[in-house]
Amino acid sequence: MHEMSILWLRVAVVLYSLGLLHVLLTVIHRKRERVFRVAMAAFYSGVVVHIVSIVEATVATAHVPANNFFESASLCALLIAVLFLFLYWRYGYESLAVFIFPLVFVLALVGELGSPVGPWTDARVRGAWLAVHIVLVLIGYAALLVTAATSIVYLIRERQLKTKKTAGLSNLPPLGTLDMLMSRALAIGFVFITLAVVAGSIWASIDVGPGWIRNPRIIISLVTWGLYLVIVFFRVTAGWRGRKAAIMVIALVGCFAITWAAHTGLRNLLSR
């Protein structure tokens, strides 16, 4: 990919990342109008810069940049972003932003990581970077486990209230409290896991080179993250809560357990 094009794409990725803030606040609490406006302005600018990047690449190579996975990812991100802007302008589908912002951000990031910045300057930087990734993952997983535990308690409590067997159970917290706890932990987990995916992807792209995306561990992480995104989206927009949400979260934790295994235990086991 053309050098200038990559630079522009990087600027676009930074602008897109502001959208994550909006997602965080929306899921944790109510929507903050000002934050949304800032995120939206950044998104607009991001799209413009992104277009510049694609045009640069097209001019430089004299054809549309969709030669490899990374270029396609970037192009795909731009198309989704433009489609969202159209829907937003035409119908005011604001709630979609919760889904679109992170998706466009991660796709653009993956596209950008097709051309690594160069090898590690220092082994210590490599190690520290990896440590940051691991810490982010651990915090994200902890939040996710809290969500799962809360979901299980929710299911028990809901069962009791539905079947009207309520005597002597007032030591469990009320459903409303559990639901709130679930949604907060889910949001915090989402933010940290997203940051961890970003950190991990960048690390892998520098460490392995353009081939990083074909690593099954990376693929499984990205797919699990996508599932997480879908759940967060449905929770915010369609109001998935209660029993259905609790079951989905427990399923999600299952997926993350597989991802975890792929990154640690199983890898050693399989390579033996």
Partner: protein
């Protein structure tokens, strides 16, 4: 006798008797004054609630105040003693303390575990205190009763579960929503039962109440009770999605809220939970509504089952509470006895010391001049002697202080050593 409780309660007297004996806040100071006029009565407290009228007095010098208190009750309430005598109970000393602890802990209440009685007892104590008619024994016992009540409440959790249908509805609402402060309540059909439930909800913080009724006047009446909003009866299904708690008690002979309605409601609400309380017979809400996710439907039988279970639970907890009270009464008695025994020990020691000094002084003249060593030996000898004599009775006094029959032994020791003042 030191402490006497005279009274009637919901078990011993019908309401016709209780209402005649009741004291209101205004007549209380005069009544306390009247009791104080009796020379044998040291302290007095009057507790008057809708379920009981009780008078607790402490006496001076073993005076028996029973006749005085009975006469006071009959005269001040202008009821012939013969009319109330069969309903009165008299409890003295340990039995009185036991009773007082049970009353404070709400074990003697009509609804066991109800929380009001402790407040009423505290108010009675405050009134007597303000009037200057408690200081000393009764005060010690009453303040102990308050902390025993608190201990029973926190250790057994006896007041925790709801034992009335309307309160059970509030409890369930709390179990579903947590805080009720921002919840919207709709009452469909303004009956007595729904009014009661709404009242409880209102008191628990659910201040946004909507009322709908076929006759508008009745809706108006009820809406005024809670500063509620009236919703037109033919429009209430349209506003249903905005409501978190719905209470139905209309006389309609069919389901006014059906499964299809609730499916739509839950969709509009984006799955936020709804609590439906159907206290009407015949039922107003289609029972299968409960199958929808995030909809919680309780009918009158469900609520009654909850209450029944809670009552059973309360009985179990009351047994535990009785055990706590037994133990606390024993502790109280021991403490009171220790209070009595301390002055006895002091006066015994003083008495012996006085005897010793008098005897030494009487003999000193006959002994002539003595060396300081000899003087010292006489002091040591006499002191040692009375210490040995006193040792037995004093340790017995201390031991008996904790015994149930200790009072008699303490009395005999006082008599033996002529400690009677």
């Amino acid at each position: 006798m030191k402490l006497l409780i005279t009274g009637v309660n919901h078990k011993t007297a019908p309401v016709e008797v209780r209402e005649k004996l009741a004291f209101d806040d205004r007549s209380l100071p005069a009544a306390l004054e009247q009791l104080r006029a009796s020379s044998g009565i040291a302290e007095s407290v009057i507790l008057s609630t809708c379920n009981r009228v009780e008078i607790a007095v402490t006496t001076r010098n073993g005076y028996d105040p029973q006749a005085d208190v009975d006469r006071f009750l009959s005269e001040s309430r202008s009821v012939p003693l013969g009319d109330i005598a069969p309903h009165l109970y008299h409890l003295a000393d340990e039995a009185a303390i036991h009773h007082l602890f049970r009353v404070a802990a709400s074990l003697d209440s009509m609804v066991v575990g109800e929380p009001q009685i402790l407040g009423q007892l505290k108010a009675a104590y405050a009134a007597a205190k303000a009037h200057g008619s408690v200081a000393g024994f009764l005060e010690v016992v009453l303040t102990r009763a308050f902390s025993v009540a608190k201990r029973v409440r926190s250790e057994t959790g006896i007041g925790e579960s709801a034992v009335s249908v309307s309160y059970a509805a509030v409890e369930l609402a709390r179990e579903i929503f947590g805080s009720l402060s921002d919840k919207r309540v709709m009452i469909v059909g303004a009956g007595k039962m729904s009014e009661l439930a709404a009242q409880h909800l209102h008191r628990s913080g659910a201040t946004r109440i909507f009322v709908t009724n076929r006759t508008r006047d009745r809706a108006r009446e009820m809406a005024d009770l809670f500063q509620g909003t009236i919703v037109e009866y033919d429009r209430f299904l349209a506003v249903l999605p905005e409501m978190d708690i719905v209470i139905t008690s209309s006389g309609a002979p069919f389901y006014i809220i059906q499964k299809t309605h609730m499916r739509r409601v839950i969709e509009v609400r984006k799955n936020r939970p709804v609590f439906l309380i159907d206290i009407s017979v015949p039922r107003n809400i289609e029972p299968s509504v409960n199958e929808i996710d995030n909809v919680f439907l309780y009918d009158i039988d469900d609520l009654e089952r909850v209450v029944e279970a809670n009552v059973g639970e309360r009985k179990k907890r009351a047994e535990h509470a009785e055990e706590i009270i037994e133990a606390e009464v024993d502790r109280m008695i021991a403490r009171l006895k220790a209070r009595e025994v301390a002055p006895t020990i002091v006066s015994l020691q003083e008495q012996l010391e006085q005897m010793r000094r008098a005897e030494v002084a009487r003999l000193r003249g006959k002994l002539g001049t003595l060396t300081p060593e000899q003087e010292e030996a006489i002091e040591a000898l006499t002191r040692g002697l009375i210490a040995k004599i006193a040792h037995g009775p004093i340790s017995e006094l201390r031991r008996q202080a904790a015994e149930p029959e200790g009072v008699q032994v303490i009395e005999s020791i006082r008599k033996l050593f002529r400690l009677e003042s």
